[in-house]
Amino acid sequence: MTSTATIPTGRRRTIDPGLRRKRRREALRNLAFLSPWLIGVSVFFLYPLISTVYFSFMRYDGFTAPTWTGLKNWQYVFTDYPFFWPALRNTLWLVVVMVTLRVIFGLGIGLLITKVKTGAGLFRTAFYLPYLAPPVAATMAFAFLLNPGTGPVNNILARIGLPQPGWFNDPAWSKPALTMLALWGIGDLMVIFMASLLDVPQEQYEAASLDGAGPWQRFRYVTLPNISPIVLFAVVTGVIQTMQYYTQPLVAGKVASGVIGGSGQQFEPGYPDKSTLTLPQLVYHLGFQRFDTGGACVIALVLFALAMVFTALLMRRGSGFLATND
């Protein structure tokens, strides 16, 4: 990478002192510019990561000294901890359904906004705004909209004679309700798709039209191939976001179950019937509610492994991510 690497070692001694001094100055400069990050990544990433691995083999409740337990924590999480497999299944469900729908919906809304001619700015703002709503506030709003007692959604469904699901109170409907909340906040994907759709060369559409291609064919053979890297980007980042899915399912469960904030009352995540459990919630549940540091660290490492697999995927195909211009 630097030119030193290519110079044969035998000739190294003959580098004149001026050049060497320049190199040393550059190295010092690089170090100075990078120092905040070097400290940050060591103290807030590498050290705690190693520490997490260490604690995953220890029994530690936060008060008495940690003791070595070997693979007991791992065994507990994979075989006895009743929340682990439901959380993994929920994550799979969310990846398959929520991520897919978000990408399709985001692309659809992006297409729509590029076609709108009247009031485009207004529509764009309306579509984008929910994305900015703080997750707790947005979840609270949806918990209200979808509450089976007084919620406007079921009220409207009743008026037009449709069945009224229990949403966040029904294990079969809680994940679809979370999916609706996720679709509501589609603004980020919409903007990304919008930008990429506008980048598709106009000539290609015109050429396709001359060849007699209809709207669907133009979409299939011109639009899709042009934006497929963005679709992939949206899918992979969507999966990574699902690994981090925490606030919305937790708050939705808390609000729907009615167990929040009260002193002495502790909310067990997953309401209703473990249907909203996700892996990050398990770290909180084991580590901060059950004081099982070892178990929490095992979950954290599973989460780490999953996140890294998809990040590697993103870096391998997304050459743009690592591109330089020198």
Partner: protein, 305 residues
Amino acid sequence: MTLSRAQRANIQHSRLTAAPIRLTAAGRAARRTKTLEWIGVHSLAIAAALFFVLPFVFVFLTAVMSDQQALTRDLWPNSWHWENLRTVWETPGFLTWWKNTLIYAGLGTALTLLSSIPVAYALARFKFRGRNFALMLVISTMMLPPQVVIVPMYLFWAKQLHLSGTLWPLIIPMAFTDAFSVFLLRQFLLTIPKDYVDAAKVDGCGDFRALVRIVLPMAKPAIAAVALFQFFYCWNDYFGPQIYASENPAAWTLSYGLESFKGAHHTNWNLTMAATLLVLAPVIILFFFAQKAFIEGVTLTGVKG
């Protein structure tokens, strides 16, 4: 910017199609399909807009209902109780949450920018061994769920530095860069031509001075986008305050406090929705002031490497 490009494309397109139109049967048919398409697109857009806007409307309508009416299925308030908003505002703690959130988001954003800009510049411009590895590490930490390292981090802040019950464990790390901000800034700095900096260096300008005097003024849009993202990240953060601040109500933030507010008023949706509205409002207002920076920032997030 993107919009004007769309408009230009539209104008071009309509010119192309408008020129050959004579009032032939085929021409009329083409015009009719165009009108039908316009109607179809805009009705779809209106339907979509309802999906995005109605939740805000229902939250607002419920927020100003009377206590009795909020227990019914009514959609429209019989009488408008603006005092609900006042009641929430004057709830003990609400102003403290507000202040804490502002400190967390403001200080966090400032520290992030100060620490991340030089790092992003070094990753974009300097050549050194291990640069690609460093970049990969940045991307990995950016994608990492915060829960992965939370257990040792909590022990570090709580047991060794005795800072649990405050927001400092969330603010201090931002003085040591934020991965997403570094990445976003680096992506933008790559697009700034090298020649400017080289010219400045010929004039005897040091690297740091070149960064401050030449590069930063050109990177204003990216800096604005990063600042907004970071501000919103802090403003919206729920997990961080839950871990570090939950034991001390004096350190709660809006997101965390909002939830406890629901706990205290759980029979009544009107006050909860009024509180929700007061948490949503500043975000919406900020968006209207900085719409352009936001939308440019999102497109910067990686797609255009």
